[in-house]
Symmetry: C2
Subunit: 110 residues, 2 copies
């Protein structure tokens, strides 16, 4: 994972926190496909994704120009299929939080 | 990791995305200590933390009543020491984003 390069605030973030079920069947293929599809959506700015296989927990943080872009992505037809499969197969629980980024700062080692 | 139980929006989130350096020396002890300390701070609502050892990448998502609570936590004396050690030892790069949560929703398997 690389840290996403995002513009000056304000912009929006969707933070998705996931508790995974036992099955990995098809999961990483779908996650990769959704990552690629998200990057083609209007208003997409960046995406960061970390998964801990031992804890079966993940956080996805995606960045968007505005809340409407997130709402449109949530309703994307292929994404709706992925969300339904996730509920049936891969997720035990998840929380989605939509937030307006007001400030950010980055530090990089010399 | 468990998904944090947070109140109805609005509240604030600090999303910290980290690219780690090679050294783990003291890192997990400090991360655990900061997790415990954060939970005692005024305005703290919850914290979620996922780390992928293979990718040496992590995302920490912490929740707070307001932006002032995040600013106060950033200036906490012990936390300042941890931040400095992080820059010296454990981090290659990180980005902090402070955002106001406007909407959230949770799904849990039956």
């Amino acid at each position: 994972m690389s840290i996403a390069s995002t513009p000056e605030p304000p912009y929006y973030v969707a933070v998705i926190t996931v508790e995974r079920a036992e099955s990995d069947d098809g999961y990483f293929e779908m996650a990769e496909a959704m990552d690629e599809l998200a990057r083609t959506q209007p208003g997409f700015l960046g995406l960061e994704w970390v998964y801990d296989a031992g804890q079966r927990a993940g956080i996805t943080s995606s960045y968007w120009t505005d809340a409407g872009a997130i709402a449109a992505w949530k309703q994307n037809a292929d994404h709706l299929v992925a969300q339904r499969l996730g509920q049936e197969r891969w997720y035990r629980a998840y929380t989605v939080r939509i937030a307006r980024v007001e400030r950010d700062y980055r530090w990089t080692a010399d």
